[in-house]
């Protein structure tokens, strides 16, 4: 008969006349209790159902898994499993507005899920693509993607702007682009950035998924060394995640009118080019969209974002998804660098998720409505 001794810490400390506490599986009680009675050992049952006691105590935490839109906590960071469960739940519950599908598989074999949001109001609708979490450690990105979906579903009936957006457009939302990296940042290394592909020659893993796109690939601002955090990969679209999304975007290039990618941190709204210092052809449209978006964002809490071409506002980099999307014919290609500017950096506290997402929503809605006004 085996028991789990809770008190004292070792059988050697068990002495006549003292108390011992043990835990047994339920079936074992059928043999244990009669034994104790026969041996004249008095006993009391302190906890009759340990599982229940644990669930009662951790009741506050179960909000992470509760299956209702209003029960899901959008103000905490969620693991990959939680986010996937959440997507499945929305897919089942809001089937008139949400369609969940996969564009492929990650290096480690995980599905690459995308949510298609919008009313099936007319046969052909333009679309906006939004991805979050290209870089694993930028947790506020996926948090914002989830927030966006929540806002869309919760307010499209009451908010005329959101209603217009979901009626006239489809939104493709990819809450976690770099699923393997995101998972790794939860389990192993909070500051992991790249994918998790294995390298043939070096012991280092991963490729910078924002240097792996086929646009001036591996020129300035990217590294050829597999151990570097800006490693561009062995060749463009070497990463299955990048290849899968590129394939999807190519296929739908006529439909998709805006590409929005969410990163952290720097508080910036960036547009092409990253790989060179030059002005894009539709500069006037894009610049005014950015200007208005940044003002809208600031109206929430006074937080200031810088904006401009990525090369001069942030730094020169090549092989980025934003530049690729633009080259592929998507007229509005933006990359957001969300809060903050370095005080917490990647470790943005959960208490700041709500203000960050609230202000960012204003910017995204602003860009979308600008898009609908046909300045391309």
């Amino acid at each position: 008969l085996q028991v789990d001794l809770w008190q004292p810490s070792s059988p050697f400390h068990m002495v006549r006349g003292t108390v011992a506490d043990v835990r047994v599986p339920r079936d074992t009680t059928r043999s244990l209790l009669p034994y104790l009675q026969q041996a004249n050992i008095p006993y009391t049952i302190l906890i009759s159902d340990l599982q229940q006691a644990i669930e009662n105590q951790t009741g506050g935490r179960s909000h992470r898994n509760r299956r209702s839109l209003s029960g899901y906590d959008y103000e905490v960071y969620h693991s990959l499993e939680e986010i996937e469960d959440w997507m499945h739940y929305l897919n089942r519950t809001y089937s008139d507005l949400v369609h969940m599908f996969s564009v492929g598989k990650s290096y480690e074999g995980r599905p690459l899920y995308v949510l298609k949001l919008g009313k099936r109001s007319r046969p052909y609708k333009k679309a906006v693509w939004i991805d979050c979490g290209i870089h694993a450690r930028e947790w506020i990105g996926p948090a914002f993607c989830q927030w966006f979906v929540k806002e869309a579903l919760q307010t499209y009936q009451t908010d005329p702007d959101m209603r217009r957006m979901l009626t006239q457009l489809y939104f493709y939302i990819m809450p976690v682009f770099n699923v393997d990296g995101y998972h790794f940042s939860w389990t192993n290394d909070r500051f992991w950035r790249k994918t998790r592909s294995k390298n043939m020659r070096f012991h280092c893993h991963g490729v910078d998924a924002n240097r792996n796109w086929k646009v001036k690939w591996c020129d300035e601002g990217a590294s050829l060394h597999p151990c570097d955090d800006t490693y561009c990969g062995p060749f463009p679209e070497s990463e299955p995640e990048v290849k899968a999304v590129a394939h999807f975007l190519r296929k739908h290039r006529k439909q998709i009118k805006a590409y929005l990618s969410f990163h952290a941190y720097a508080q910036m709204l960036l547009y092409p080019y990253s790989y060179k210092y030059a002005t894009i052809p539709n500069f006037n449209c894009v610049e005014s969209a950015a200007y208005n978006a940044v003002n809208a964002l600031q109206s929430a809490y006074g937080v200031r974002y810088r904006y401009g071409p990525a090369s001069s506002t942030l730094y020169v980099s090549s092989g980025s998804s934003m530049d690729w999307a633009y080259k592929n014919g998507i007229p509005y290609a933006f990359a957001f660098e969300l809060r903050d500017t370095g005080h917490f950096g990647f470790l943005l506290p959960e208490t700041l998720i709500k203000p960050t997402c609230t202000e960012t929503m204003l910017a995204v809605k602003n860009i979308t409505l600008h898009l609908l006004k046909k300045c391309h």
Partner: protein, 168 residues
């Protein structure tokens, strides 16, 4: 300003914001000289603060006495934690880590780097015979251009009146 055979000099006008008292700002000017062939040598920095910094005497004394009266040396890790939380009693350690990270940034800065403290990976207090507090840090610094997050070991000495010094 390019100074031939010496390096590049930058003249800056800055506004400092008190992290613990947002809205409270102080102006300062700085001159930074990056030496030619820069990577071996830290830039020269001269700073003038215009105005007064808030007095923190009370909080300093309280923290100093609290640490001095600890029976076991303070040890902590992952500040903030993965979700951005800092226990209130470790907030002063977090701030001292910022000071230490400033030293590391300065020593390793070039015109092509931008450092931020990503996280205090580990901190260990070391008891001393003199009046200073000593903290041995392992700091994770994030460099913006290369995007690398790398660990740095720094030992910081601190005293309420004498302030912070990096120990070599």
């Amino acid at each position: 300003q390019d100074i031939d055979d010496v390096g590049h000099k930058y003249c800056l006008e800055l506004e400092l914001e008190d992290v613990l008292d947002k809205g409270r700002t102080v102006s300062c000017t700085a001159e930074v000289l990056y030496h030619l062939g820069s990577s071996s040598c830290a830039p020269d920095v001269q700073v003038t603060v215009q105005g007064e910094l808030r007095s923190t005497e009370g909080a300093d004394e309280e923290f100093y006495n609290r640490i001095r009266s600890l029976e076991k040396e303070l040890v902590a890790e992952n500040i903030p934690d993965s979700h951005g939380n800092v226990p209130p009693e470790l907030e002063p350690i977090h701030l001292l880590a910022w000071v230490a990270s400033g030293y590391v940034s300065w020593q390793n800065s070039t015109e092509n780097t931008q450092f931020h403290l990503a996280q205090v990976k580990h901190v260990k207090q070391v008891k001393r015979n003199d009046e200073d507090l000593q903290f041995d840090f392992v700091l994770l610094l994030h460099e913006m251009v290369s995007q690398e997050v790398l660990p740095w070991q720094v030992t910081l000495l601190w005293h309420p009146q004498r302030g912070a010094r990096v120990s070599q």
